[in-house]
């Protein structure tokens, strides 16, 4: 039997723990924490997708996806979000090169594409509601408005965040804190595009096939 002994000075008290916390620089865990937030957001959307999957064919003798959805409009909307993703990518590249003006310009373009996406979505919603396809019409429409509306609210808050960061960058420049915030928004924005892939496939395209 071999036993390990603690090779310490008998006069010195034995410590079984670290006396001091090792160094955690500010913001070192922000990206991982934000990623975990996004994953929890993903679960919210998974449940809303599941709701839509279950209720999506209960029309209550009301309008069906085929009567309501306008695919060219959805394609335009998808293009807006995809363009905003690539322009945000260019903003991140400009940020890495420490070019404040270019970063702001790409952020502004991203914001405009995001605004276009939101306007088209609101136009689509108001058009549907004017035709009588309101959320309370059928289970299909309730789950449709909940799912697509939740995504729209995320984009709205993303836009508010984007404007806030543009003001911050204008006032303070590309300091470490602002860089970190821009990287978080980058993840958020691209994540919304990923969710939209699910929405246009599962809701719009599959809806037209039924």
């Amino acid at each position: 039997m071999s036993s390990r002994t603690l090779a310490v000075d008998p006069n010195e008290p034995v410590e079984f723990y670290l006396r001091e916390e090792h160094d955690h620089p500010e913001g070192s865990s922000t990206m991982l924490g934000f990623w975990i937030y996004l994953m929890s957001d993903c679960l919210i959307f998974a449940i809303l997708f599941a709701c839509y999957g279950v209720l999506g064919s209960n029309y209550a003798a009301g309008p069906a996806p085929r009567d309501l959805f306008d695919l060219p409009l959805v394609a335009l909307n998808t293009a807006m979000l995809l363009f905003s993703s690539i322009t945000y990518g260019f903003a991140m590249l400009a940020m890495e090169d420490k070019k404040v003006g270019q970063t702001q310009m790409w952020l502004a373009i991203t914001g405009l594409f995001g605004l276009a996406f939101l306007s088209i979505e609101l136009y689509e919603f108001s058009h549907m509601i004017h035709e009588g396809a309101t959320p309370q019409r059928s289970a299909f429409l309730s789950s449709f408005f909940t799912l697509v509306g939740t995504h729209g609210i995320h984009v709205t808050f993303g836009l508010i965040w984007l404007v806030t960061l543009m003001v911050q960058v204008a006032k303070r420049g590309l300091i470490a804190a602002n860089t970190r915030r821009l990287m978080c928004l980058s993840m958020f924005w691209h994540f919304l595009d990923v969710i939209w892939i699910g929405v246009f496939t599962f809701v719009y395209l599959m809806g037209m096939l039924r």
Binding site: S28, A46, S85, G198, M208
Partner: protein, 122 residues
């Protein structure tokens, strides 16, 4: 000692995209979006085939976005982002497919009931 396993914060390389990476991701996304829209709008394939095809295109596009836009690698943040992602995918798999599985078989698993029985329900 325990300090050996600790990942030093300075070693963690933050994921950065390149212009080429973003452009490749964008080009792939455009193609992977255009094909399913074209399939549904023209209706060239049978419905069942189209449904499976657009689901596959969506899955591929999500992976493309993860790699080129969200810069996912197995190494980022010491492997913790990929762990969180795998955990989430498993949870979504259970919640989403589990819900659909149960709900679509609900009527099959109910006790058979004739219309006259239904009228007896208070």
């Amino acid at each position: 000692m325990s300090t050996d396993t600790h990942v030093d914060h300075d070693d963690i390389v933050e994921a950065h995209g390149t212009r080429k990476g973003y452009l490749i991701g964008f080009a792939l996304s455009v193609v992977l979006t255009a094909i399913p829209f074209a399939l549904v709008m023209t209706g060239t394939l049978p419905q069942q085939v189209t449904a499976y095809a657009i689901m596959i295109f969506a899955a591929v596009q999500i992976v493309v976005h993860m790699i080129y836009f969200l810069h996912m690698t197995g190494k980022s943040e010491g492997g913790w982002t990929i762990m969180a992602l795998i955990f989430t995918v498993v949870m979504i798999g259970i919640a989403f497919s589990g819900t659909l599985w149960v709900m679509y078989h609900l009527s099959t698993n109910m006790m058979p009931m004739s219309p006259s029985d239904m009228r007896q329900i208070p």
